[in-house]
C-alpha cells in the first residue's frame, strides 16, 4: 500500500476495500460493522436520542487529542447531554488526497481508544477522497444513537427558579489548546485540550439525582453561550459569580494575551448542569469522584429576575450582563 491517501482510495474499487479492511476494520471491529453491509442492523427499545455532528478542526492533531477523538467524544457528549446512554455511532470521513496514511492510522487508533472508553460501537461508516485543496486533510462526521433511561427528562427548557448551576471543571482549555497550535501564535507552555467522553460522568450524576433539569456541554461559544441558551429556553434569569468559575492559570494568561474572555472559549470535555437545590451537594460529590468532574463547582443559580438574561458578579464585586458570543472567536475549533 502507498503511504499517502490517493484518489483511488475513494474509488470504491480495490484500494477502497483495502483501506477499509486493513486500516479501519482491524481497529473498530464489532459484529454489526464486520458484515460491511450497506447499513448496520441492531435491536434496541425505549426512548431513543439521535444526533449528528461534523468535525473540521484544524490542526487535526492537537495537545491531548485529535480530530478522531473529538469526533467520538463530541457525539457521545451530545447524546449524554439529554441523559441518553450512547450506544452506536456512525463514522464518515472525507479525506483530502495526499493525507499520509500514517496520520489516518493514528486517528483511527485514537477513535478506537475513545470509543472503548465511552463503551460505544462504531457500526457503520463511509470514506470519500477528494482532490487536493477540496478539503483540508480530513473532515469527519459522526452520528450517534443512545437510549434514554426511564424517568430521565433533561432539556435546556427545564431550568427552574432556585436551581443551582454546576460547572464540571476548568473552562477554555480546548479553544486555547487549538489556538496555541495555530500559525504565528505559539506559546512556550503546553495547553492541553480537555476533549473527553462525558457519558459516564453523566450516568453517575443521574444515579445521584433524578432531579437534574438541564445539561449541556459548552463547546463553541463557551460557557457564556450555554448559560444564555438555558436562560432563553427556560425563560429564567441566571446569575453566576466570576470568581467561582474555575480557569487554569495558563488559560487565563493566554486569554489576557489574546484579548479573550475565557467564558467564550470552547470546551470539549466539560458540562454545565442545572440541578434542583435539594440535590446539589449529592450531585457535586458524585461528580468529584469522576476524573472529568474533579474540579466541579457551583458557579451560580437560577433566578426569577431578568428572565432570558445572564448576569455575572465580576471579580471586583459589581454585576454585569453576560451576552452570547457574537461573531467568530476562533474558526474551525471543532
Amino acid at each position: 500500500m502507498n503511504d499517502t491517501i490517493l484518489l483511488a482510495h475513494g474509488s470504491g474499487g480495490k484500494l477502497s476495500h483495502e483501506l477499509v479492511e486493513k486500516k479501519i476494520l482491524p481497529f473498530l471491529a464489532n459484529p454489526a460493522l464486520n458484515k460491511l453491509d450497506d447499513s448496520a442492523i441492531f435491536e434496541t427499545s425505549g426512548r431513543l436520542a439521535f444526533t449528528t455532528d461534523s468535525y473540521v478542526v484544524t490542526p487535526i492533531f492537537f495537545p491531548s487529542g485529535d480530530i478522531g477523538k473529538l469526533a467520538v467524544c463530541g457525539t457521545v457528549n451530545d447524546l449524554s447531554m439529554n441523559g441518553a446512554r450512547p450506544l452506536y455511532l456512525s463514522l464518515s470521513a472525507i479525506i483530502e488526497e495526499g493525507l499520509p496514511l500514517e496520520e489516518l492510522e493514528r486517528i483511527i487508533q485514537s477513535i478506537k481508544i475513545a470509543a472503548e472508553e465511552a463503551e460505544v460501537s462504531i457500526i457503520t461508516g463511509d470514506t470519500k477522497v477528494v482532490n487536493q485543496g477540496q478539503a483540508d486533510k480530513l473532515f469527519i462526521n459522526t452520528s450517534g444513537i443512545g437510549v434514554i433511561p426511564l424517568g430521565v427528562d433533561i432539556s435546556g427548557a427545564n431550568a427552574k427558579v432556585g436551581d443551582k448551576v454546576i460547572l464540571s471543571g476548568t473552562i477554555g482549555d480546548h479553544g486555547i489548546a487549538i489556538m496555541s497550535q495555530r500559525e504565528g501564535l505559539r506559546f512556550s507552555m503546553t495547553l492541553e485540550s480537555d476533549c473527553a467522553p462525558l457519558n459516564k460522568l453523566v450516568s453517575q450524576m443521574l444515579e445521584a439525582s433524578p432531579r437534574i433539569h438541564c445539561l449541556r456541554d459548552p463547546t463553541r461559544g463557551g460557557l457564556a453561550t450555554t448559560l444564555n441558551e438555558f436562560a432563553k429556553q427556560s425563560h429564567v434569569g441566571i446569575k453566576v459569580e466570576e470568581d467561582k468559575i474555575p480557569v487554569k492559570e495558563e488559560v487565563k494568561a493566554a486569554c489576557e494575551l489574546l484579548g479573550f474572555d475565557p467564558i467564550y472559549v470552547a470546551n470539549e470535555g466539560k458540562l454545565v448542569a442545572i440541578v434542583d437545590p435539594r440535590d446539589t451537594d449529592k450531585v457535586l460529590a458524585q461528580m468529584k469522584q469522576n476524573g472529568y468532574g474533579r474540579d466541579a463547582a457551583i458557579i451560580g443559580e437560577v433566578t426569577s429576575d431578568h428572565p432570558g438574561r445572564v448576569i455575572m458578579k465580576t471579580k471586583l464585586g459589581p454585576s454585569r450582563i453576560v451576552d452570547m458570543l457574537s461573531g467568530e472567536l476562533l474558526p474551525r475549533i471543532c
Partner: protein
C-alpha cells in the same frame, strides 16, 4: 504567568473604591481616552465601583472607530485592484465603508488576509513576489513603531512589493483638538497605557498647563484603572492638575526612545482625517520621502466616489464623548455586533461593542428592572 489575579483582587479593589469615595467631594467628569480601558471598565463593572460624583466618558482611542469613512473606502478600492493582496488586522474587515466593506470585497473575490503582525505581511510579500501586498496601517503610537520596523525590514531585504496605507493617528494632538472643541467639559483624562509606553508622559504636559485638566496614565487591569481614578480624584480635589504615571511598571517619563527613533526614521508628522472630528493638524503620520516606494498612497493612486456616512449612525459623536451608545437610535435595535452599522460596534475596542456586550454602565440589575417595567 502569575500577574493576572493580583491586579484583579476584589479586596484591594474595594479598598481603592472606598478611598476614592472618601476623597471625592466635587462632581467631576473623567474621560478614558483608550478603547481598551473602556472595555476593561465595562467588563469589571468599574463604573459601579466609583461614587456618583465621578462621571466617566469614553473617548476616541479606538483605531478602527476613528478611521474616516473616506479612508475605509480607499482601503476597499485598493482591495479591488488586480494582483493586490490586502493585509489587515481583523477588526477592519467588517467595518462598513460608504458602499462596501473589506469583508464584502473579499466575498466578491478580492484577496484580503488577516494578519496578527505587520511582519506577517512582510512575509506574505516575500513569498508572493509577483503580487503587490498592501498593509492597512491603523493605530496610534503603539502600533506605528512596529509598522516602521516592517518598512525598514522590507527595505533591508529588498522586498519591493510591500506597501503600507498609513492611517496612523497621534494621541496628544487629538486630545488638544477635543479640548479646544470644548464640547465635553473634562476635569481629568485616563491616559492610555500602551501609547504612553512608547511616548512617555512628557507629551501630555501641555494639558494640565494650558487647559487645567489632570492627566494620569493607567494600565489595563482593573486595579490599575481604579488606582488611576484615585490619583485623578486626589489631584482634582487638591486643585493641582499635573501629569502622573499610575502605570510605572510599563511607562517611563521619556517613553521608549528606540521605538520613537524608529517612528521618526520612517514617518513624518502630517494632518489626519478623524471620524467625527475631521482633519486635525499634526495628528497623523505619513511615510517620509526616503521610504516613499513603500507608500501605498503613492504607488496605487485610486479615484474614489465621495464618502457618505450611514444615516442615523452616531459613531462620530461617540468617539468625541458627545454621546453614549444608548443615545444612538440604532444601538441594539438596528446596529448589533452581527450586523454592525458603524465601526464602534465592530471593533473590540469600540464603545458600542462594550456597551452591547457588558450592558449599561449603571447598575445592570436596575437597568433590567427599568426595561421590564416598560414592557
Amino acid at each position: 504567568m502569575k500577574f493576572v489575579d493580583e491586579y484583579q483582587n476584589s479586596e484591594l479593589a474595594k479598598g481603592l473604591a472606598d478611598r476614592i469615595a472618601n476623597r471625592s467631594t466635587k462632581t467631576i467628569r473623567l474621560m478614558e481616552f483608550c478603547g481598551g480601558h473602556t472595555h476593561a471598565i465595562m467588563r469589571y463593572g468599574i463604573r459601579q465601583l466609583v461614587p456618583k460624583t465621578v462621571e466617566m466618558k469614553s473617548g476616541p482611542g479606538c483605531p478602527v472607530c476613528v478611521t474616516a469613512t473616506a479612508d475605509l473606502d480607499k482601503a476597499i478600492a485598493l482591495a479591488r485592484l488586480p494582483e493586490v493582496i490586502i493585509t489587515t488586522f481583523g477588526d477592519m474587515m467588517r467595518v462598513p465603508g460608504s458602499y462596501s466593506s473589506l469583508q464584502q470585497a473579499r466575498a466578491e473575490g478580492a484577496d484580503v488576509r488577516i494578519v496578527y503582525s505587520t511582519m506577517d505581511a512582510v512575509e506574505i510579500a516575500k513569498t508572493n513576489p509577483e503580487r503587490s501586498i498592501i498593509f492597512i496601517g491603523i493605530g496610534f503610537e503603539t502600533t506605528a513603531p512596529t509598522i516602521a520596523a516592517s518598512i525598514i525590514k522590507a527595505q533591508q531585504n529588498k522586498i519591493e512589493n510591500f506597501h503600507v496605507l498609513t492611517l496612523h493617528k497621534l494621541t496628544p494632538p487629538v486630545m488638544k483638538a477635543l479640548l479646544d472643541l470644548g464640547e465635553v467639559k473634562l476635569d481629568g483624562i485616563i491616559c492610555p497605557g500602551h501609547v504612553s509606553v512608547i511616548i512617555g508622559s512628557h507629551p501630555y504636559e501641555f494639558i494640565p498647563k494650558n487647559y487645567g485638566v489632570t492627566c494620569v496614565i493607567s494600565g489595563f487591569e482593573p486595579l490599575d484603572i481604579l488606582l488611576c481614578i484615585d490619583k485623578l480624584v486626589e489631584q482634582i480635589e487638591n486643585g493641582q492638575p499635573r501629569v502622573e504615571i499610575a502605570y510605572p511598571r510599563g511607562v517611563k517619563p521619556e517613553g521608549n526612545p528606540k521605538a520613537l527613533e524608529l517612528m521618526d526614521e520612517v514617518f513624518e508628522i502630517d494632518g489626519a482625517n478623524w471620524r467625527g472630528i475631521g482633519t486635525v493638524p499634526q495628528s497623523g503620520l505619513k511615510i517620509r520621502k526616503k521610504y516613499e516606494r513603500f507608500d501605498a498612497d503613492k504607488a496605487f493612486p485610486v479615484s474614489l466616489k465621495p464618502a457618505k456616512e450611514t444615516k442615523g449612525c452616531r459613531c462620530g459623536d461617540i468617539v468625541r464623548g458627545a454621546a453614549t451608545p444608548p443615545e444612538c437610535k440604532l444601538f441594539r435595535k438596528v446596529c448589533t455586533p452581527e450586523r454592525p452599522v458603524g465601526p464602534c460596534m465592530v471593533s473590540s475596542e469600540g464603545a458600542c461593542a462594550a456597551y452591547y456586550q457588558y450592558g449599561p454602565p449603571e447598575n445592570s440589575e436596575g437597568f433590567l428592572e427599568r426595561k421590564r417595567s416598560k414592557l
